[in-house]
Amino acid sequence: MKGETLKSYQTFDRVKLLTRHLQNHNATPCVYDFDTKSLRKLLDGASVDDIDYIFNLMIQSNLFCPRERDGKVFIAPDFNQSMEQQREMTMRRIDYLREQGVFDELFSKGHLWGFVLSEALGVYDHSLSIKVSVHFFLWGGAIRFMGTKRHHDKWFKPTETYQVKGCFAMTELGHGSNVRGIETMTRYDASTGEFIINTPCESAQKYWIGGAANDATHTVVFSQLEINGVNQGVHAFIAQIRDENGNKHPNIRIADCGHKIGLNGVDNGRIWFDNLRIPRENLLNSVADVSPDGQYQSAIKDPDQRFAAFLAPLTSGRVMIAGSSMYSTKIGLAIAIRYSLSRHAFSIRPNEPEVLLLDYPTHQRRLLPLLAKTYALSFASNYLKMIYIKRTPESMKSVHLASSALKAVLTWHCMRTLQECREACGVQGLQTENHVGHLKKEYDVQLTFEGDNNVLMQQVSKVLLAEFLAAKKRNKPIKGLGLEHLNKPVPIIPSHLTTSILRTTQFQTDIFCLRERDLLHRFATEVSQHLAQGESKEHIFTVTYQIAEDLGRAFSDRLILQTYLDVEATIPEGPLKGILGLMRSMYTTIVLEEDASFLRYSYLSTDNAAVVRKEVLKLCSELRPHALSLVSSFGIPDAFLAPIAFNWVDANAWSSV
């Protein structure tokens, strides 16, 4: 009896502690008393209202599976449903959003709305976001950018109303990132004015085509185009694959990709084309066309350039993935950090209360650098969206470069953060309803779709090298891609670093620039040495990957720091600027600590590396009091978080079973 009283007292005490930490922001002294709304405004920018509108729509519909836990309502898909049920629910949710007018006039609205949709829907469920994105931004995007007016007039409206359900058949069993290597073959029949699409071998079957297994009625097909015996390279065509009743076209075979480790709400399928005939007008002809009598016409003669121009608009996919990945990262962090502010473990001295997880320096070290990094990377993602929206033919190269680099860096960060969050929540992280563990499966795909991250990073280095060599050849200062710092004298790094130096923007910029510049020179030297030995360029790039990888990282980190500084510059002096400065120092210091290249190439002496390591510890304890406000500023509504982010004791009480 006595034991029970004590226990209930402890529980009560625990609840008190828990609520104090979660509700009273002033429980620990905060140096920067900033407004969480203003910080969120920096993260979500002009889209705050749009994002909240989509959140509102999802929270209020029973289709989104609201469940009550301890008086709070949480919404999340029922992942215990079978794959087929999950797919059906995804479609029903889309129907609901369509009925609310979410997709009305989508193609006339700005690109920002597209980013809002993919990001806000992804906060609920990655499958929902992907299913919508495939339809509007891959199928719709291909028509928008690769097609011309005749395609827009014909397909936009039925796409907005879902009369036509589109998919995007690019990847094949044998070819993914290497789009130019696909084997699907299309020829032209001048006698009927039709193209004939064919899958010549098993490795040419279209694979992982989202929407193809069940729902899609139409697809954009990527295929080699052979005209009069000459292969003109990869082109895109519109093909109907099912009728309005869902019956497959007789010249098409479709199979299901089956159950996946995540994203089971999307019906990925495989398609074989058996000499499918489509009208000549279905060629998406923005860069090249075929006349009725079968003559190939293109304004761009060089096939390399033509291919680049052709695929360039699809950069939007990477921009979108980078953006989405930041939202899932935020969910993971918000949950893990809130949990670490209410969960205690072990007493330091006998008979003393147990210590709050986030008061352990180790726990701070695990989560807080990731938190600061997430802010830095989110600003970079916003920058990427903006340069994408404002792109011009001249800026396309830097958009492409930034999107490749940031897609890789941001999605890697997302997966790493989710893994850390899942571990930081202990076994609670395994429970599907607590999201953090489950999100890993749902978002893993980001690392390889729309370009394998490793391939993307190598491309970044290749582009940088080409730009560097071109400037050298012209004997002119280098311009663009943020490389202008190479024209300046080599930055000097102080031989004895201190806390105050580490926190200056001057030092932070200098050391990031130094790394990029030196690695670029090293990469150029290494490549030229190989060239001197008569090796082919292709071969050289396969063997110099180590430096290329380091350079890709260096470019990304410098770009991210630059966008961060640009954001900071817009903020007047005050607590908000203060916290942003602190997080920037955390971001740069953790990069210095974690990336081996600083020591490997001696940008940091071992003594200085030790100072950096100590600084991380200090920064963690300074960020600690702000942890809750910083995750609140993400603006993810409680309903999209998890029971462990709140009163998990009551949520798990017997009475709530």
Binding site: V15, K16, T19, R20, Q23, N24, N26, D52, Y53, F55, N56, L57, I59, Q60, S61, D70, G71, K72, V73, E99, Q100, G101, G635, P637, D638, F646, N647, D650, A651
Partner: protein
């Protein structure tokens, strides 16, 4: 306890019953009453001998809302202090540590609704009438309405908040504004039973009320709650303009009294009020009750400051003073209310000694106290 007092207290061992006592004006809440109740509730929360707090109205109404007329003859800063107290009181009720029961007879509107709806147990009956009629008056549903309306099923909250639609007891139970429905003839017996039980154990209280209640009061045949599907598809729209055109489209397909009334009511309400109310409810959906009240305080102060729009004074003139029921709203049309105007209601006021609402720290907040709906 003077018999003329506007707040009466009945004391039976461990139970305190707070009675709103201004029956001539349907117990409309005056600033004095609000401060008095605030004080009482604070005392009871501290006092270990108090276990259960009951709130009810004297006579046939619970509370007809805040006595808005008091605002007409005072400076906006004085009026702001009235809101300050009222919202602090709402917060206290919403997060009250002790068990509290609201016995809701008759009219419960506007400011009065806060008492009723923020409480732990909300018992309604046959003659209960609930409404948040602020938009007709140039105001917006405040007192934490952006919290509780936004948590109603689907987009019913937007409907109730924008149109000021009246709900009866059965509808309140159906949508979750009430927790129990007890037939009128058993109402006083319930009160006696609660007093007699002399406990604060929420489970026991729940069982007692449950025993008296009608578990499944019939919704009237033409209840608006049956229109939830239409309400969801129209009131989920992005803007007030979109909501009205969705309703008109619906009316075109399927015209009836309810939909005509809904459209007519929206067109009669202050355009500015409609826009800020919609934004307030939508924002409230993603916030806690405290954040909702802080935001609503900004909005209320902007309303009574009268710099952005003077619809509140016009509404009071037309409905309470001249009673010509013909307010001349300015701006007169929805499309004339700019986003900038709406934004200004949600920003801190540009005034030297104005400050955001600072709610008391509530260390004992249990989660059921945070969210009861």
């Amino acid at each position: 306890m003077a018999p003329t007092s506007q707040v009466l207290v009945k004391q039976t061992s461990n139970v305190r019953t707070i009675i709103l006592n201004n029956p001539q004006q349907l117990n409309a809440l005056t600033p004095e009453m609000a401060s008095q109740i605030l004080e009482l509730l604070n005392t009871y929360e501290e006092d270990p001998s108090v276990k259960l707090v009951i709130v009810k109205g004297e006579g046939k109404a619970f509370c007809a809302g805040g006595a808005v007329s008091v605002f007409l003859n005072v400076s906006w800063k004085e009026a702001a202090t009235v809101f300050y107290t009222a919202y602090t009181l709402d917060y206290l009720i919403a997060t009250y540590a002790k068990t509290q029961v609201s016995l809701i007879r008759g009219i419960v509107m506007g400011g009065g609704a806060a008492f009723a709806v923020h409480g732990r147990f909300r018992v309604v009956t046959d003659d209960t009438v609930f409404a948040m009629p602020e938009t007709a008056l140039g105001l917006f549903p405040d007192v934490g309405a952006s919290y509780y309306l936004s948590r109603l099923p689907g987009f019913f909250g937007e409907y109730v908040g924008l149109t000021g639609a009246r709900l009866d007891g059965a509808e309140m139970l159906a949508c979750g504004l009430a927790t129990h429905f007890v037939p009128l003839e058993k109402f006083s017996a319930l009160e006696d039973a609660l007093c007699k039980a002399n406990t604060g154990d929420p489970k026991i209280i729940n069982n007692i009320i449950h025993d008296f209640s009608n578990k499944n009061p019939k919704l009237k045949e033409k209840s608006q709650f049956f229109r939830l599907k239409t309400i969801n598809s129209c009131f989920s729209r992005r803007t007030v303009e979109d909501i009205i055109s969705a309703l008109e489209e619906e009316a075109y397909k399927n015209k009836d009294d309810w939909i005509s009334w809904t459209i007519k009511t929206l067109k009669k309400a202050s355009p500015t009020s409609l826009k800020i109310s919609l934004r307030s409810i939508r924002t409230g959906r993603l916030q806690g009750v405290g954040q909702c009240l802080i935001r609503e305080y900004r909005m209320s102060c902007t309303v009574i400051q009268g710099k952005v729009c003077r619809d509140f004074f016009e509404g009071c003139r037309a409905l309470l003073v001249d009673k010509d029921k013909n307010p001349k709203w300015e701006p007169s049309k929805l499309e004339l209310v700019s986003k900038q105007m709406v934004d200004s209601y949600f920003a801190p006021l540009d005034d030297e000694d104005w400050e955001d609402l600072k709610l008391p720290v509530r260390p004992n907040l249990t989660s059921y106290a945070i969210s009861k709906l």
